[in-house]
């Protein structure tokens, strides 16, 4: 889902890229402020390691149908582990390294990519909170993680489809349906992987899940 700078092809694309940079910066500032105020114990080690894992996992593309592949985004995974605010910051780091060192995702397009994956991924936390009524012990917890992961990929794909549409002759009429089509399938992989990872961690290391502690507290928007 990483939009390359090569897809920023005309004035409207550039305007969209600049606009998404501004929106992303606003969310980044908000998550930074909230993150600084939110965590009552150090999550530094968990943040570093889970971000590194997400980076590694994003390198492993899995095949879906139609000669197409997808990979874990990991936004919902990070959101459950770290809470929404640190998840946004964590994913921003992953995307930054990808763009800077590996040219995976553009620089001009960075605001778009960061919004689609880091911000939307972090926001998926609130859906899980809503669906589980704020309890990780709720039997709907793992299904909620699956649904939120799938939806975070679909929402990211939808926004990406709108963002890249100026470069397509058919505009949103072609980008939206086709992006949603492929990502509906990729999202199933996202949901399955995230659900398996989270349920394993919940069983083996429940104490490390900082996001879960936040679930119980009043996580105000």
């Amino acid at each position: 889902m990483h939009i390359p700078d090569g897809l920023i092809t005309n004035d409207l694309s550039i305007a969209a890229a600049v606009g998404m940079w501004i929106i992303f910066i606003a969310f980044l500032a908000w998550s930074w402020k909230k993150a600084k105020a939110t965590y009552s114990r150090s999550i530094t080690a968990l943040l570093a390691i889970s971000s590194a894992f997400v980076f590694a996992a994003q390198m492993i593309n899995f095949p879906i149908a139609f000669g197409t592949s997808g990979h874990l985004v990991g936004g919902t995974f990070l959101a459950v582990l770290l809470g929404p605010y640190a998840a946004m910051l964590s994913m921003t780091i992953v995307l930054l390294m990808q763009a800077f060192f590996f040219a995976d995702g553009g620089i001009l397009a960075f605001g778009m990519n960061a919004f689609n994956m880091a911000i939307i991924g972090g926001l998926s936390f609130f859906l899980i909170k809503l669906l589980t009524r704020g309890s990780a012990g709720n039997r709907r917890f793992i299904p909620s993680v699956f649904v939120a992961s799938w939806l975070s990929v679909m929402a990211g794909a939808l926004v990406a489809a709108l963002e890249v549409s100026p470069s397509f002759a058919g505009g949103i009429m072609v980008t939206v349906p086709s992006m949603l089509f492929y990502h509906a399938i990729i999202g199933l992989g996202e949901g399955a992987i995230t659900a398996v990872l989270i349920s394993s961690i919940q069983r083996m290391q429940p104490a490390i899940m900082g996001g879960l502690t936040l679930l119980k507290e009043k996580t105000k928007l």
């Binding site: 700078d5 530094t44 590194a52 590694a56 492993i60 593309n61 910051l89 390294m97 590996f102 397509f168």
Partner: protein, 95 residues
């Protein structure tokens, strides 16, 4: 600290095991771009290791693995610095 280094090492093992199985098919967005024949222009930034490969290393597995390990270390370091910057100064470091 030892425990954390162990977990970080597991990420490298994960990469070493799964890289050969990673699909090289286009991802969802790339597929859409190909299908509708959009011409991408050349990017102005090619990164240091474009496409997760180190140009100087011929073997694609070793090249991708080393690029991956490098990226993992960079994210670890940046994540650690972010975590440090984010936490209140007087907070005791748990674990």
């Amino acid at each position: 600290m030892k425990k954390h280094l162990g977990t970080a090492a597991l990420i490298v093992v994960f990469l070493a095991v799964f890289i050969p199985f990673a699909s090289s098919s286009p991802d969802g967005l790339e597929r859409v771009v190909e299908t509708f024949g959009v011409e991408e222009h050349a990017p102005f930034w090619n990164g240091l290791m474009s496409d997760y490969a180190i140009a100087a290393i011929g073997d694609p597995y070793v090249s991708t693995l080393l690029a991956g390990v490098f990226g993992t270390c960079m994210v670890l370091l940046a994540g650690f610095l972010l975590g440090k910057a984010m936490m209140p100064k007087n907070l005791e470091v748990s674990e």
